[in-house]
Symmetry: C2
Subunit: 284 residues, 2 copies
């Protein structure tokens, strides 16, 4: 039986581990947190003493880390152990750093691809996420049988870094669609319409967006228990703006979005669900 | 056989006339344009010499006019002839003026409702639009059998003017979703991703919005043959901002949207399809 290694057993890493175990793979893993390692073991995983041990134990590795800093730190630790290995990086990082890491590892004979995930950890656990992959065609091909185990659909977007770049585009559209819905529902309310009825009209016609299903009721009912935090999305938007600046993109809507999210954080909404952006439109 | 009257035989009025004729009604109509009247006659309608004649000939009337000015002009002409009649106004007008007209006509015993239509004239012709109705419950009930003939779904939103108000909310969300898609696809392009591939990723996941189906390919291929003109949407956005100001709404995204649309018009894109908004994001 093939062994897959997972470095980082947080929300996404833990879910992917459970998914891969369910599909019959042997999974070795490591996380800084002893609690997470214990959880992983209780799910049937093999917790090892550090990242290097995981890299040595497995031919195919998944990195599920919080950001580019963490990825670079882990990889620098044992770059040489990665020669010949297949590394799929699901971290939502800075795409330029992801691309750079990819070409650096490639020189060390590592088959690297960035495989960013679209969907919640709950969806990852049932094999229902979308994966955006960047890397050399042959390396992506090598990774595809593993990705097939947790993705309902995946796309090869281009060279290393392209997965992370696509994730930023998706986040740009997703977050702004949310903000647009928030402005629309607020406009409905000041116009003395029933926001719930209006939401039904919006869903029925050309103005429909999928955020209406995921966030519409939360906005109408002002129920902001976090599924994903507003502050996290502000970080995404900053990364989008940085990339835009670096590559010459004109992103006026995202610039305004960042201001609105900053305002929301200043009002203490950062730890609420990202649908709480609607409170900013309501404030007047 | 019941006779329905239609005043205004433009794109929408003409399509509704054809639809009602197809469902077996007798339809009397008037339009300022002789060409449109001739077209209407050739489709089986009964063209009359003026609006008053239409009002006299039919118990139930549809107004399909370009804006609130036209509606008020027509109605003032023969307000007394409308006593006891059922008037459904499909015009996308200023909601406050629509509400005012509704209560004025109500005092003259006219059963008025505003029944704004969401969808193209092509969809109206096959009975596939969504209708947002404002008016007294009993008047809306009276109009429902006619609305059922051309709507796949309709919603009673509240008192007179509520249909027009809801239409503005829908237009706010629809137009901004379009602008968001435009910014996202441009960001994809400067990030050296294939916009067509990215469009497929966007459609597959949580960032999906229905404008991706209607406008995505047009934006990617820069094919801007007008289905609905950019300048027309700018007028909608101005109406949204006016209403927002009057009712105390905070609409920062729509304010920015108006600036972007103004910029687009200044660059000569006004007569193109509203998907041409993407050119504004591309300009840098």
């Amino acid at each position: 039986m093939q062994t897959v290694g997972i470095i980082g057993l947080g929300l996404l890493g833990g879910a992917l581990a459970r998914r891969l175990l369910k599909t019959g793979l042997r999974v070795a893993g490591y996380d800084l947190s002893a609690d997470r390692r214990a959880q992983f073991t209780s799910n049937g995983g093999i917790a090892l003493e550090n990242s290097r041990a995981v890299a040595n134990a497995a031919e195919a590795l998944l990195l599920c880390l919080p950001d580019s800093n963490a990825v670079e730190e882990v990889v620098l630790e044992f770059k040489s152990s990665l020669a010949g290995k297949l590394v799929s990086d699901t971290t939502t990082g800075d795409p330029d750093r992801t691309a750079h890491l990819g070409s650096d590892l490639c020189r060390h004979e590592t088959r690297y691809n960035d495989a960013t995930v679209l969907g919640s950890s709950r969806e990852a656990e049932v094999g229902n996420v979308i994966v955006m992959v960047g890397g050399k065609a042959e390396h992506v091909q090598d990774a595809s049988s593993m990705i097939d185990r947790f993705a309902k659909q995946w796309f090869h977007m281009g060279p290393a870094g392209s997965g992370a770049r696509t994730k930023l585009v998706v986040n740009l559209v997703l977050g702004l669609n949310r903000a647009v819905l928030a402005e629309g529902l607020t406009f409905a309310q000041v116009s003395e319409l029933d926001p719930e009825k209006v939401l039904n009209v919006l869903k029925a016609g050309a103005a429909y967006s999928r955020v209406m299903d995921s966030k519409g009721a939360k906005m109408v009912q002002r129920e902001f228990a976090p599924e994903a935090r507003l502050s996290q999305h502000r970080k995404d938007v900053r990364l989008i703006l940085e990339q835009g600046q670096r590559h010459g993109g004109h992103l006026p809507l995202s610039r305004l979005h960042e201001q609105l999210l900053a305002e929301a954080e200043n009002q203490g909404l950062g730890d609420l669900d990202n649908s709480a952006i609607i409170e900013i439109f309501r404030r007047k």
